[in-house]
């Protein structure tokens, strides 16, 4: 539990750091507030990009954009994966076979190339990014939830509840929920981290809103700047979004593992 608290505190600190940049910091992330490619200074903590837009403000805006996309994706994926996983595990039969088949297909195909094709087909929008990532994120959740549901279905207390005439919804919520819902939450957190990476990847490849302040897009624009690695600009234009991306994703991943170990192993 201590590890979970420490990681939650670390993530809260990261959120606060970016919350300052998105609210109280004097520069906005949308309009230029300085000269082109200013080095970090007291005025612009992480410098400016080629258009003179403050990097820290963009990073902060990018954090909340990434988190919003991650949370929305995780919610969608957890809803879809949880629903299908529970139904497949509980109902069994042809429905289980069909869902398992779908899960195996989604787990076996390379996700990014398909996401690129689908993203290119449906166009650049944040909404499209969310549902595209969600479509490819529910399968691992459903697989785990299905397996857990099947194992819980075989327990004597569930069988007893069924023999007393308990309905499916009642049994799932009252008797299976405490085993399944923590699993859903942990997988959901893991999806947030994955969604942030995938959103950044799609944005880097130009499949996001072209003017969005996204970490992937920041990296894409900076690396496309002619000759950037022969100047000092990369130090404040490329490193901050790369570092932010790594820090957030690693923190979320470790948090998911710590929660898993707390809820499933220690309890």
């Amino acid at each position: 539990m201590k590890k979970v608290i420490i990681l939650c505190a670390a993530f809260a600190a990261i959120t606060l750091f970016f919350l300052y940049g998105a609210t109280l910091y004097p520069h906005g992330s949308r309009l230029p507030s300085g000269a082109s490619l200013e080095a970090p200074s007291a005025l612009h903590l992480l410098g400016t990009d080629n258009l003179g837009v403050d990097i820290y403000a963009q990073l902060s805006s990018g954090f909340f954009r990434s988190m919003a996309i991650g949370l929305a994706t995780a919610a969608l994926a957890a809803l879809l994966g949880g629903l299908l996983g529970i139904m497949a595990g509980y109902l069994g039969g042809r429905f289980d076979t069909a869902v398992s088949f779908l899960i195996n297909i989604l787990l076996s195909v390379p996700q990014l190339p398909i996401m690129i094709v689908v993203g290119a087909f449906f166009g650049q929008s944040t909404g499209n990014i969310i549902w595209i990532i969600a479509i490819f994120s529910w399968a691992p959740i459903a697989k785990q939830v299905r397996a857990k549901t099947r194992s819980v279905c075989g327990t004597r207390y569930v069988q007893l509840a069924e023999s007393y005439g308990g309905g499916a919804l009642y049994i799932i919520v009252r008797h299976m929920g405490r085993d399944i819902f923590p699993l859903l939450a942990i997988n959901g957190i893991a999806v947030i981290g994955m969604a942030i990476i995938q959103e950044s990847s799609l944005a880097y490849l130009g499949l996001s809103d072209p003017l969005a302040k996204s970490w992937g897009l920041m990296i894409s624009k900076a690396t496309a700047f002619s000759g950037i690695f022969f100047t000092d600009f990369w130090k404040w234009w490329i490193l901050p979004p790369v570092f932010s991306l790594m820090l957030s994703v690693v923190c979320l991943r470790i948090l998911a593992r710590a929660l898993e170990s707390y809820f499933i192993k220690e309890r």
């Binding site: 000759g227 690695f229 022969f230």
Partner: protein
Amino acid sequence: MKKATKRLSLLLALVMMVTLFTACGSHVNTAAPSPSSPAATAGTAAKTVKTLKLEGGTDWGAPSPFLNESRGPGTAKMKLVFGSLLEKDETKDVSWLAESWSVSGNDYTFTLFKNAKFHDGKPLTTDDVAFSLDYYKIHPPVSNSLGSGNSYIVDHYTIIDKQKITITVKKATADTLSDLGSFVIIPKHIWEKVDDPNKFKGEGYLVGSGAYKCTKYEGATGSYEFTAFDGWCNGKPAAERILFVPVSNAMLAFTNGEIDITTLPADLMDKYTKDSTIGLVNKANDTGYKMLINFQKCPDFLKLELRKAIYSALDRQSVVDKVFRGAGSVGSAGYVPEGSIFYNKDVVKYSYDPAAAKAAFSGKKYSVTLLSADSGSDVAIAEIIRNNLEAAGITVKVAAYDSATRDKMINSGSYEFALVGNGGWGNNPPNYMRTIFSDVSKNKGGNPHSMGPIGYSNEEITRLAEGQMSETDFNKRIQMFKDLQLLVSKEIPLFVIANQSTYSMYRKDYYSGWMKTYAYQQAEQNRLSYMAR
């Protein structure tokens, strides 16, 4: 002796330039030098090399006259494979597949090299030239200098023998010789069986008539390989192979010797201009960005005061400073960039006046989508335009697509506002003034130089844009271009954002044959850059 030769060359060059503009109707019989002749080699000293490697990674289409993308890099690759009758060097038109030519009224007579042949070894004769003319009349190629439909410039042709053909045009203009010299010759024995050239990828579709054969093309990776054609009739190719290779970072690739020429970033100008081993080709103001309005979809902007207000809203200097990093200039509202001999310095100049723009758009609540390419500079310029227009009170959504998709959307009119960037603004003479602004010539051919304002019409602009073609007096023609620019700057059919100056950078000790023609500054896209001269 050397001095005398040089003077003679210069004199010859001057005479040729004047004849370019005055050839029509003057019964001039011109025998031009081949690329390897003394007149063409003055001041250059390129050696031949095994391989020339350039930045690839973009699919510019198969190098067939019907399948290449309608942009400079696509056309240039096709022209390595397919030869035309004439070529351009630094000062004049020179021979390519035709060893000589003469002009008499509307008759243009070309004499082919006796040993001209196609890549499959079959002889290239006037039958193929005549076939190409007939074929292009029915099936216009991507890069089309002959016109189509009623604007097809050729009236008829007369085959004199296997080497000599006279092409008679409907109306000779100042650019007819260049137009007739530019269409590429395709082999009759292959294409006479092809009904739909836009889909033809069968055997022999890349059998060309140029100095290089296309020996590899991979659209998915944007890789091309061109191999010198042993049977080329006019001079010697400078490289045994030309490779366009995908690279993730052009500057790093150039530094590591993976490519032999690249664009010098403005921020590294000081470092490389001091390096004596580096050669540079200056392309002053040759790349330009314009913003088009589809007036059919946005008819309110047909009001001149609103177009003036848009110019007031745009901080175009910031595009030069921030996106071009100072290497360029704010675009002339008359379109032709500063530095061209055709440039009119007296055009109307619109300054950045956000307060005036805000007042003009106050309460109008316009909302538009700005179409842009998804490359770094295009998106950055689109962002500046979005910020400027939103400050003036116009809501702007930017939609960015790859360059080919953006071009197709513009050509089909699927846009409200569109940002177009392309090279070739330094073309000389600036015939794009006709293909962009004339009501009868614009939006034909798919090239960015023909992307004009949809839903806008202006008789006087059309009269000047078309009229300059027929004007054979050079000075009068310049004046017509200047009058046209002044009118364009007053009427604002489109918005000229900015022009970028760039340098191509290469290693002098490896290969130094990179050149600009009198009409085109992009060294990497000029065929003579790849010839030993």
